[in-house]
């Protein structure tokens, strides 16, 4: 009969105490599993959300974290916007178009109240969002129901899976986005749901996507004609070369809300002080109609004949840019972030997410892990107490085994095996319990939050638990094992303890 079997039989003999002890260990391990898996899920979620494109071009005011939070995670307040003309630099022969595979404009500012009272973000964009970029690791957006909206159908919308569940809206239903992010500041026109996205496990599951053209036509979304007037300026040659500004660029604004001037022309070198001046028209100037570029690609007309909002009155919150190669992402970053125009900034979302994970989540995880390790240690001590308390009543059995020829080391090993078995069984039960809880909770969590949990996926740290528990069990089992080792056979058999 093996020592393992003897140890197992001893545990069976104290079935209730053994079960309770193993259960306390199982609880500790289950908590540890939950911490590990949930942390992994959160990090994956963050990472997945920030994939599918290389950089985000956002407003120059605010931090890169704010850009990522509002654009990627649909959190916080939308930042100072980017001009529509800046967006057009990334498309149709624009300055950065050679680097760009796809540029997706994002307009934020609207929301919709779900059935449970939560406010879902309404994201205005183009259909390219779901056809030209991917999510997570190269996964293409799929529609669980319906299809993508069409650019010429201004009032079409696509819902994320969680948004569809929370609002109860489906294909063919209409909804009226509210102006404002956190409160209802007035209803807009109705949009018709034409598609519901399959779950992606990203923040987009919780968003409602509407056609940007329809968004622009809603009250409060168009720049007023006055604000939109951009007084053109002419730059002296040294100003142009020193600032990097060129025809069509905008000058940095001095104050929020101030109309920003655009460069109409750059003078050739004159060799005079005029080379260092910026020439602007006097007050009361009005943009002549002839100043509108005739080379611009026409905006898409609505199928129903609705006129689109003029370019000059458009802004975007941010632009998701998928580059033709990752190298170009660096180039765009260099050109924009190192340039003179401080009204925009380029953010690499993955780097920001990594910083977020390392700077915030890693310490949190460490704290939680320390707490759960302490729970496991307490459970380990309960193993020690359980076995140690049983030693006095088992000293007679140990003495009998010694009388039958068991060496001191043999009885010591048997007691250590008991400790190892308890820890191992508790550990395995804890792993099953932890993953079982996740398996039960994951469909509910996914439905309500869009967070995808792979309940049976294990992390490398988890597999370190097994050898860790073995070592730990050997440590906590050592004291009772030593008691077994020191049992005085003759004295114990004669009735003494």
């Amino acid at each position: 009969m093996s020592f393992w079997k003897i140890a197992w039989r001893n545990l069976q003999q104290r079935a209730l105490a053994s079960t309770l002890t193993a259960f306390s260990m199982a609880l500790g391990v289950a908590l540890m599993i939950l911490v590990l898996v949930i942390h992994g899920v959160v990090v994956n979620q963050l990472t997945n959300d920030a994939q599918g494109y290389h950089v985000i071009v956002g407003g120059g005011k605010g931090s890169k974290f704010e850009v990522v939070l509002s654009t990627v995670f649909h959190l916080g307040t939308p930042l100072y916007p980017v001009s529509y003309s800046y967006y057009e630099k990334f498309v149709d022969g624009g300055e950065y178009a050679p680097y760009t595979e796809a540029a997706i404009p994002i307009c934020l500012g609207d929301s919709y109240e779900a059935n449970d009272g939560t406010r879902l973000r309404v994201v205005a964009t183009t259909p390219d969002m779901f056809s030209k970029i991917s999510y997570a690791a190269d996964k293409q957006y799929e529609f669980a129901e319906g299809e993508n909206f069409q650019r010429e159908n201004y009032y079409e919308a696509v819902l994320g899976s969680v948004a569809a569940y929370k609002t109860g809206l489906g294909v063919g239903d209409k909804f009226r986005p509210a102006h404002g992010i956190s409160s209802d500041q007035g209803d807009h026109d109705k949009f018709t749901v034409v598609g519901v996205l399959a779950p992606t496990g990203t923040a987009n599951d919780r968003a409602m996507f509407i056609n940007m053209e329809g968004f622009y036509l809603q009250e409060g979304h168009a720049l007023s004609a006055k604000t939109a007037v951009q007084r053109p300026v002419v730059l002296g040659s040294k100003v142009a070369s020193g600032s990097g500004l060129n025809v069509g660029d905008k000058l940095p604004s001095k104050a929020e809300g101030e109309a920003r001037s655009s460069v109409l022309a750059v003078l050739g070198p004159t060799g005079t002080s005029n080379d260092q001046l910026v020439f602007a028209p006097s007050e009361g100037y009005e943009l002549p109609k002839t100043a509108t570029s005739t080379t611009e690609k026409p905006l898409p007309l609505a199928a129903d004949g609705t006129k689109p909002l003029p370019r000059a009155q458009r802004e975007v919150t941010s632009i998701l840019v998928l580059c033709k190669s990752p190298f170009y992402a660096g180039e765009i970053d260099r050109q924009i972030n190192k340039g003179i125009d401080r009204t925009v900034q380029v953010v690499a979302p993955r780097g920001v997410v990594a910083q977020l994970a390392d700077g915030f989540l890693a310490p949190m995880r460490m704290i939680l892990l320390v707490l759960t390790i302490m729970i496991v240690v307490v459970a380990g001590i309960s193993i020690l107490v359980s076995i140690y308390n049983s030693m006095s009543e088992r000293s007679h059995d140990i003495a009998v085994m010694r009388a039958l020829g068991a060496k001191r080391s043999a009885v010591m090993l048997i007691v250590l095996f008991e400790s190892v078995l308890l820890a191992l069984l508790g550990g395995i039960a804890g792993m099953l319990l932890g993953h079982g809880i996740l398996a039960v909770a994951s469909p509910i969590v996914e439905r309500y939050t869009g967070v995808m949990v792979a309940p049976w996926q294990t992390s490398p740290e988890e597999w370190l638990l097994v050898p860790g528990l073995l070592v730990f069990a050997a440590l906590v089992g050592f004291l009772p094992a030593l008691t077994a080792y020191r049992t005085d056979v003759a004295k114990t058999l004669s009735g003494g303890r």
Binding site: L404, K407, S409, A490, L493, S494
Partner: protein, 227 residues
């Protein structure tokens, strides 16, 4: 087969002095011989058995079993020797409550070098009339059945010597004879020497050779004190 020569054993008293327990000039038991060791309660009988089994060290002397002197051997060697060559039947049977009858017998084989032989264990249990109780735990066995399991366990390694420490002390008179008969018959069948400690005259009277501890132990003779 068993030879004790000038075996002395004493214990330390709290005041530092030594209390002599045993001083046995000579005791020999032949192979297959059945001997009763009789003496007053507390006279050192159990101590003598423990010394023979190697569970207790002696101060001096020689304890030879099957030609091997146990005195001076390291404890681990004595343990291994005991497992292979000595069977032990205790006053309270000392079956382990967590194990079945068969497992209790197999436990006797666990600490030897040889591989556990469930067939041998089952055969022995069958010989003592317990073939229908193999999977029963001690708590569901009668006192007599428990003692039979203990005998089977003591014999499972084919020892040369079986030490029985008052095996009938806790048994009612009706069953005492059964246990004695079982021990004697089993030892006879297995050709095992039997050294049985008892203070029950009815048991001792059945044996051809009875050794009085007071007669072979100089400490008892000199002091006349019950140790």
């Amino acid at each position: 087969m068993l030879l004790l020569e000038d075996v002395r054993k004493s214990y330390a008293e709290p005041d530092g002095s030594r209390l002599d327990i045993l001083d046995v000039p000579r005791l020999a038991v032949d192979r297959g011989e059945q001997v009763v060791l009789r003496g007053r309660s507390g006279g050192g009988k159990t101590t003598l058995l423990n010394c023979i089994a190697g569970l207790t060290t002696v101060d001096s002397g020689r304890i030879e079993i099957n030609g091997r002197d146990l005195v001076g051997l390291p404890e681990a060697t004595r343990d291994r020797f005991r497992a292979q060559h000595i069977g032990f039947v205790f006053q309270t049977f000392n079956l382990l409550p967590a194990f079945t009858a068969l497992e209790n017998v197999l436990l006797g084989m666990t600490f030897t070098k040889q591989k556990a032989d469930p067939q041998r264990a089952a055969t022995l249990l069958e010989q003592v009339g317990l073939n229908h109780r193999l999977t029963h735990k001690p708590s569901s066995l009668s006192v007599g059945e428990q003692q039979r399991v203990a005998v089977a366990r003591a014999l499972v390694n084919r020892p040369v010597l079986l030490l029985a420490d008052e095996p009938t002390a806790n048994i009612d008179p009706a069953h005492q004879q059964q246990v004695v008969d079982l021990l004697r018959e089993s030892c006879q069948q297995e050709e095992v020497a039997l050294l049985l400690v008892t203070h029950t005259p009815e048991v001792a009277d059945q044996f051809e050779r009875v050794e009085e501890l007071e007669a072979i132990n100089r400490v008892s003779k000199s002091s006349g004190v019950v140790a």
